[in-house]
Symmetry: C2
Subunit: 332 residues, 2 copies
């Protein structure tokens, strides 16, 4: 059983997987990208993945057979165990619990060649809708407190399979960075009685210098203090603390801006590896007036992330105003 | 002039360098490791670096000439400007100031071939002593609040020159992770009236399962909730909040344990890239009862740091008990 452990100083939880080997060459995890050859995510190979927990498929087709547009399956090599109780316990001053959670893979398309930046808009819409559906379903499980959705695009960003997909991890804890955003947002709200994200959106719309794209409901910006060159955030203009509060129709507009954001990123930087992460309120929270869901897209351009995540200190050679101007003015 | 900017939500400061080019291929910073050929850090090439701010050298030799064992020089491509006032200012809701600071390089040895794991103990001692001397000197400058010392070993960890060196950045702000440790340590102290690090040390010494090495004054452990496989911390057993509080003689024992720690790491994992970072109290603070200086050594084994630093959420396939046992039982 994997274990969740809490750093006693700063309170950060990590997953310690105890299922793996014990010698250093077993410890080193180098993702291998399969190129060519057999792909378990291709249409026709449905039997080689764990059974689907959600699929959008042609009427009349059977689960785990061809005929789908999108599939969500459990990860074959999950970081967490689905079954079991949390069994919170101390070990002297330290805190731990069982590594219970759900680790799923969202296969975005049956087409092996497609990427999220090239998928048609109705395909992107399905991906965004599936996020919501899975968060809603997993919110039923009282053991979970957070659903983390992210994408690793490209080997340098951690992708281990070429076929375009994203991942979902349902957790019994709130990840550190979201916890910090919640605290920061609450602190700001207590002083100003306004949402810090709403204030930021209103200033970005006024200044325009860091705006990359916008439509009626959404805004894509390079944030004021980005950790990485060409970092971008996509936020709803209206205040919603949780992704699940969105109406399905909004995902059409979100698909449009998200797709064009990724297209512009790739036009600017080529097949750049990137990660994106959905930041949303913990599950089963009521609408929070101090938090505002958003996506953070972080291209992996520099090699120095090791030092940077070890210190929490970032040196970014690219002013976000320059990045935003460049991205905005590109001809697609 | 580079700029320091504060994220309005979580309060993290980043350096935005505004001195670089404006097109994407200028933005991408890929460190190039010079192999063979001319090296500015070699003995005899002193005139090709900025002038030394500290050197340990043979009596009678002139500054910036051969005859040294260790040199500290300003970084030729500094991330921060040495001259200028902070000029703290707002931009609407955002906070910024001039990117004033000092960016130095500690050249650990005149020998191009040596690494910190193979440097003789008196060489390691000089490196540790130089850290203290530079922190003390930079503490005189009222513009600075923190001195960050770190090493990038290997290209994948961000090293841009092969010749063994570490870096120092004096900053007008406290880096996010140290700020979190200070807050966490204070929170724990307020409740327990004990230092969280001292409690941790005492439990580690009792349990022994995560201890890698120890001597009279220092302890090397794999921490309870490590972010990365084979992550190690080195701490003084006695309570000191700042590295500058150490007596010079202690650095001999620190050099011994630190050197052996790196040797064991390389014996276990080969020429693994790694980062280490000195975590110490902000400068000019009195002795703090809730903070405890230490080194954190983080090998760069996985490719997924992008996602991980983007979420603050870590999946570590190696239980620290297994890593510590392996490192401890190695025959050097």
């Amino acid at each position: 059983m994997p274990e969740l452990r809490k750093d006693p100083i700063i309170g950060r939880w990590v997953i310690i997987s105890t299922e793996r080997g014990k010698r250093p060459h077993d410890f080193v995890v180098e993702p291998e990208v399969t190129k060519g050859g057999f792909c378990p995510f291709d249409e026709g190979n449905e039997h080689t993945t764990p059974p689907e927990v959600l699929a959008y498929r042609a009427p009349g087709t059977e689960p785990n057979t061809p005929g789908w547009q999108l599939r969500v399956v459990n990860n074959k090599f999950p970081a967490l165990a689905t079954e079991g109780e949390l069994d919170r316990a101390g070990e002297g001053m330290f805190d731990k619990m069982n590594g219970v959670g759900s680790h799923e893979v969202i296969i975005e398309s049956p087409n092996h060649e497609i990427t999220l930046s090239s998928i048609p808009l109705d395909g992107f819409f399905r991906v965004l809708k599936a996020y919501r559906e899975r968060i809603v379903a997993l919110s039923e499980d009282p053991r979970f407190r957070y659903v983390l959705i992210f994408k690793n695009q490209g080997r340098a960003a951690g992708a281990s399979l070429e076929h375009s997909h994203c991942q979902l991890i349902a957790l019994p804890i709130v990840p550190e960075l979201v916890q910090e955003e919640l605290s920061g947002g609450k602190f700001y709200y207590n002083y100003k009685e306004r949402c810090v994200f709403c204030d930021m959106i209103s200033q970005e719309l006024q200044q325009q210098t860091r705006v990359v794209l916008q439509n009626e409901e959404f805004l894509a910006i390079c944030p004021f203090a980005p950790r990485s060159p060409f970092e971008m955030w996509i936020l709803p203009k209206q205040h919603f603390s949780s992704y699940v509060d969105m109406q399905e129709e909004s995902f059409r507009l979100l698909a449009e801006i998200f797709s064009e954001t990724l297209k512009r990123l790739e036009k600017a930087l080529g097949q750049v590896p990137y990660n994106f992460i959905l930041h949303t309120a913990p599950i089963r929270e009521p609408q929070l007036n101090y938090y505002h869901w958003h996506f953070e897209i972080v291209p992996k351009l520099t090699l120095i992330a090791g030092f940077e995540w070890g210190s929490g200190f970032y040196i970014n050679p690219t002013p976000p105003e320059d990045a935003a101007k460049y991205l905005r003015e590109l001809t697609l």
